[in-house]
């Protein structure tokens, strides 16, 4: 009897966890019905002009803002994370490497709101007053903050992915007279190309999903920035801001579309990562 | 009287044929040793006896197997036979000591509580009896709460034996129980096994012909998943 009980309870919980995604998706689709039914609105959604009073609810600049911010943050976070991962794996002397791991874990544990807060009070005024780069609240400020926040996470992710291979090959590398940096750069990294790519995808998901830094630091202007010192608005921040609108309005309906766009991105990342690991599973 | 009898028994996992057409009889209350080079199918055969391949994806067993337990004839692979019930009657000790995480006492207490659920007073008796039977009692009676991992290799293996014995099986399967031990510990275990064979039907896997000759009442030789006539 207890056999059945556990199996049933587990299946029930598993069902809840699995259905949550469908439930969210269905809810967004259903709530957004007025949008999908109106071709004029749908066309407007794809545009870049946001002026709900005039019936224009274009999400294109926000979608572009999301991609710009995520890409630029990763441009900073990924190489830095990789270098830091290498240094914890073996480039740094051993006691230092252990200290580095602690440091990275501590940094990755700092709440996002703290990064954003420090950025508002330190980075933004510095960009504006000392460097004279516009208003401070900008693509640049948000990208730097998000990049710095993501770096330790990327580093831990990569060092976790690389360390089994590194440990496995270390004796062989030593026997061949390879230095640590040689082993890491010319043997481990090429062998773990897929792991490198899937870490990139995974962290891009985090970058796209961030709300707080975008909301607090990016300036939120609905506008496609011409250079990094200008403000931008991301989809997530747009949702947070537009939530204040009338729930029956077209502007509000547009945030269902924005949510679905974000979900589509998450799904895309997931399936790319999954296909990567499938292929590597086949190869081995 | 033979305790284990099989006829045309085969095992395949996916496309790999691990055992083909094994037919043999093993005597009760005797020690039978399965001998052969590694990969010859000894361990696979041993695990067929207590249905340990059940959870392996793609494993298929065909042919006939009967065990005689408490005078009854049991067909392990017939529909009505519960593998859990079967495994409680057919104990097993692995190559390397497979301890549960936790103390020495926990390793014995947990299975017996879950399987037999005896009253408290009897529990202590059973533990002592099993440890005595495995000739471990004198070494560990003062420290049942110590982590099982703190025991030496030979002690760990005897603890595993005690853990199998505490469930009062009739058949005991031993998968190269001395392979990871030094000479002294091996001979301790060998002596122990010899002392057990009057009470249990023992089936042991070994890759060491000298050890087999020293201990066995019956020797079965495997090669490439088939029997070699001895």
């Amino acid at each position: 009897m207890s056999e059945r009980l556990l199996a049933t309870a587990a299946a029930f919980a598993g069902g809840i966890a699995a259905c949550a995604v469908f439930a969210i998706l269905a809810l967004l689709l259903w709530l957004g019905l007025p949008l999908w039914r109106d071709p004029a609105l749908l066309i407007s959604l794809a545009g870049s002009s946001w002026n709900p009073a005039a019936g224009e609810i274009g999400l294109a600049s926000m979608a572009a803002g999301t991609l710009l911010l995520a890409a630029s943050a990763l441009l900073l976070a990924y190489p830095c994370g990789l270098l830091l991962a290498l240094s914890t794996l073996g480039l740094a002397p051993r006691p230092l490497a252990a200290a580095m791991r602690t440091l990275l874990a501590l940094l990755s544990g700092i709440p996002t709101v703290v990064y954003a807060f420090v950025s508002v009070w330190l980075l933004v005024p510095w960009l504006r007053d000392s460097l004279g780069l516009g208003m401070g609240y900008s693509w640049l400020a948000a990208a730097l903050t998000l990049g710095v926040m993501l770096t330790p996470t990327v580093a831990l992710l990569l060092s976790g992915a690389l360390s089994p291979t590194f440990t496995r090959l270390q004796a062989a590398g030593d026997a061949l007279g390879l230095s640590r940096v040689q082993l890491l750069l010319w043997v481990v990294l090429p062998a773990e190309r897929r792991a490198l790519l899937s870490a990139l995808l995974l962290s891009s998901g985090r970058a796209v999903g961030d709300t707080l830094i975008a909301l607090m630091v990016s300036g939120n202007a609905i506008w496609l920035p011409a250079n990094p010192t200008e403000p931008l608005r991301t989809l997530t921040a747009h949702i947070a801001i537009t939530l204040a609108a009338d729930t029956q309005s077209q502007a509000y309906a547009a945030i269902y579309a924005a949510s679905l766009l974000l979900l589509a991105y998450v799904a895309l990342v997931h399936f790319l990562t999954a296909s990567l690991s499938d292929e590597s599973a086949h190869r081995h | 009287m033979s305790a284990i009898r099989c006829h045309q028994l085969s095992l395949a996992i996916g496309k790999r044929q691990l055992l083909s057409n094994i037919s043999l009889e093993l005597p009760g209350n005797k020690l039978s040793v399965l001998l052969g080079p590694s990969g010859s199918g000894k361990t696979s055969f041993l695990r067929v006896l207590n249905r340990l391949h059940d959870d392996t994806a793609g494993a298929r067993v065909s042919g006939e197997l009967t065990l005689s337990l408490s005078g009854q004839t049991i067909h392990p692979y017939h529909h009505g036979t519960d593998p859990v019930w079967l495994r409680r009657r057919v104990g097993m000790v692995f190559q390397h000591p497979n301890l549960l995480p936790g103390s020495i006492g926990h390793n014995l207490r947990l299975p017996v509580q879950l399987v037999k659920n005896p009253p408290r007073a009897e529990l202590a008796q059973r533990i002592e009896a099993a440890l005595r039977e495995a000739q471990l009692w004198d070494e560990v009676c003062m420290r049942l709460d110590a982590p099982a991992a703190s025991l030496s290799g030979g002690q760990q293996q005897r603890l595993c034996l005690a853990r199998a014995l505490i469930l009062q099986p009739e058949i005991l399967l031993l998968d190269e129980p001395t392979v990871s031990l030094d000479t002294q510990a091996s001979s301790d275990i060998e002596a122990l096994i010899t002392s057990l064979k009057c009470r249990y039907t023992l089936v042991m896997v070994s890759h060491n012909p000298v050890q087999a000759k020293r201990l066995a009442d019956k020797i079965i030789v495997f090669r490439d998943g088939s029997l070699v006539d001895s």
Binding site: A17, I24, F117, G209, L212, T236, L263 | D55, N98, L100
Partner: protein, 288 residues
């Protein structure tokens, strides 16, 4: 010089430089917060002018103190983990031990998708659900309970993944010996596999607590407010540390309040450092 040697030296130099930079960054953040928080770091930080003991239990309202936000955050996290943990351990068991084949893979995929979902979308869903629920149950409102449920949904996939992965990584021998001992599947799961997997589940749990503690986007819509005092029940609105920091960063009323926001950031950092230290200790203990 061989170009490879150049690359190798550059990589070593850069990684050392970066390591130093990030160590400096941690110090910079800490020092900056400490400096900003200094005026607020006194006996009045948590309770303002209210007497400590009555304020602690909510008998006396606290103004100009961090206690309501701290307590709100702690209640939220406790509730959310309390809801998510049993559910996700059961779901993790289902995925690791019962779900097989195509359905099993689908279950993995869905939970991984849930893990990737932006938290603001999670909050939006919670908010829309409560609006719908009000059609049936007019009393339903955004509250501590709703926020906790949504945060539970946020951390659920992390906990499910932690449970699933820890169970999968158990040595095959442990499974064989549990089976050879004649334990039924449920006995083996409950008495052997779960205890053996518990260190992994626990560190997943600590990660989840960290996520729940720092989240703003979910609670933004589901019941957090700028000022209310201690929540009197599950159905009350509540304050939370990260929300306080976010709001005060933009619209502080005076320097004292801003200093409190710095102190709140420091407090939140200490809490996450504490979680990290706990995780370390647990890992050490499970290794020994």
């Amino acid at each position: 010089m061989n170009p490879r040697t150049v690359i190798e030296r550059t990589v070593v130099a850069l990684s050392t430089l970066l390591a130093a930079a990030f160590a400096g960054l941690l110090l910079l953040i800490l020092g900056f917060l400490l400096m900003g928080a200094w005026p607020a770091l006194n006996g009045r930080l948590l309770f303002g002018d209210a007497p400590a003991w009555p304020a602690l239990s909510g008998q006396v309202p606290v103004w100009d103190g961090l206690w309501p936000a701290l307590a709100g955050s702690l209640m939220l996290v406790t509730l959310a983990i309390g809801i998510a943990l049993p559910l996700s351990i059961a779901a993790g068991i289902h995925q690791a031990e019962y779900a097989r084949g195509r359905r099993g893979r689908l279950a993995y995929t869905l939970v991984d998708l849930l893990a990737g979902m932006p938290s603001i979308v999670m909050g939006l869903t919670g908010f829309m659900l409560i609006l719908l629920l009000r059609n049936i149950l007019p009393e339903a409102n955004t509250s501590l309970l709703l926020a906790a449920c949504c945060v539970a949904l946020l951390v659920l996939p992390y906990l499910v993944q932690a449970t699933r992965v820890s169970l999968h990584q158990l040595p095959a021998e442990l499974r064989l010996s549990a089976q050879a001992l004649g334990l039924s599947q449920s006995q083996a799961i409950l008495h052997v596999y779960l205890p053996a997997a518990s260190p992994g589940i626990l560190s997943g749990c600590i990660l989840a607590i960290g996520r729940a503690l720092e989240d703003v986007a979910v609670i933004l819509l589901t019941g957090v407010v700028a000022e209310t005092g201690l929540p009197g029940s599950l159905f009350d609105k509540f304050e939370a540390l990260p929300f306080f920091i976010m709001v005060t960063a933009a619209e502080y009323r005076d320097e004292a309040q801003l200093a409190r926001a710095f102190a709140a950031a420091l407090l939140l950092m200490s809490l996450s450092a504490l979680l990290f230290a706990t995780a370390r200790q647990l890992q050490k203990r499970s290794l020994s």
